[in-house]
């Protein structure tokens, strides 16, 4: 039963991250501006690299979550990404920045840090649960 729940959660997580990546991949300039607004990276080249790389990493890991063979690795990468996202959101919240999340492309009129961080924490727990106990096929 737990295995079935884990598999279902992994597929849902995979679909969600494929959607999140695809929403950003079509407009890298927009995502670049979203990352810039966090004011975390003083190196423009690093922000440009992230604007192109992060959406594809989300898509690749989203696909990885769907296939059992790659689930463990994909869930750990996604968990790592979510920890970074939560940290960035918390810092922006603490600094009182009026920015868009940039999480699923698009924009929001007012920041909803509490909601965004809560959602990412739930996704982090889901990623870790979905990827756990999947080591039997590794090796």
């Amino acid at each position: 039963m737990t295995d079935k729940l884990r598999a279902l959660l992994a597929v849902l997580m995979g679909a969600l991250f494929i959607y999140a990546g695809a929403a950003k991949v079509t407009d890298p300039a927009r995502f670049f501006a979203d990352i810039q607004n966090y004011d975390l990276l003083p190196w423009r080249a690093a922000v440009v690299a992230m604007a192109f790389y992060l959406p594809w990493l989300e898509i690749v890991c989203g696909v990885g979550m769907i296939f059992r063979r790659f689930r463990s690795g994909a869930s750990l990468v996604l968990a790592g990404l979510l920890v970074v996202f939560i940290g960035a959101l918390a810092l922006a919240w603490a600094r009182g920045l009026n920015i868009s999340c940039g999480c699923f492309g698009g924009s929001s009129e007012h920041p909803r840090y509490f909601l965004w961080i809560g959602r990412d924490l739930a996704l982090l727990a889901a990623a870790l649960f979905a990827g756990s106990g999947g080591g039997k096929h590794l090796g």
């Binding site: 300039a29 990493l57 690749v60 590794l138």
Partner: protein
């Protein structure tokens, strides 16, 4: 570090993670290349102007401070006018009243990593139609550093 029973072996897991990270780099690189080929790279280029270049120019400069009201109240470049996106409609008329043809408008925010000056400069240029609007590289920190 050894893996416990039921947990994935470390080496294949690390290999899997490395593979996923590398796989993502391929379409990312391709997408950057496509962007470059289509001439859509302008959004990623730094158009800020260094302070030395602004000082060297002979044209009169209208400084625009894109930071918050509080930061502006603490200190600002002499003669600078406050204009940020939070109070855009209230603050813009003063800037337009002060602006003279021939002025070079230079917008600044707090530091190298802030980007509000770029956004305000873009709005002044595209929405308001002011000519030759620039934004200062390094912002207020660069100015402070040069005027110690």
């Amino acid at each position: 570090m050894s893996a416990g029973p039921g947990s994935p072996p470390m080496k294949p897991l690390a290999r899997q993670i490395a593979l996923l990270l590398a796989l993502a780099a391929i379409p990312a690189g391709a997408s950057a290349l496509v962007c470059w080929k289509r001439g859509q790279w302008d959004a990623f280029i730094d158009h800020s102007v260094p302070l030395s270049e602004i000082v060297a120019a002979s044209q009169p400069v209208l400084w625009v401070d894109a930071r918050s009201k509080v930061e502006y109240a603490v200190a600002h470049i002499p003669g600078a006018l406050l204009l940020n996106e939070d109070d855009w409609d209230d603050l813009l008329p003063k800037v337009l009243e002060t602006w003279q043809p021939g002025n070079v408008v230079v917008v600044y925010c707090s530091s190298q990593s802030c980007h509000t000056s770029e956004e305000v400069a873009q709005r002044l240029s595209k929405e308001v139609g002011l000519p030759g609007v620039q934004f200062l590289r390094g912002g207020w920190e660069a100015w402070k550093g040069a005027h110690k």
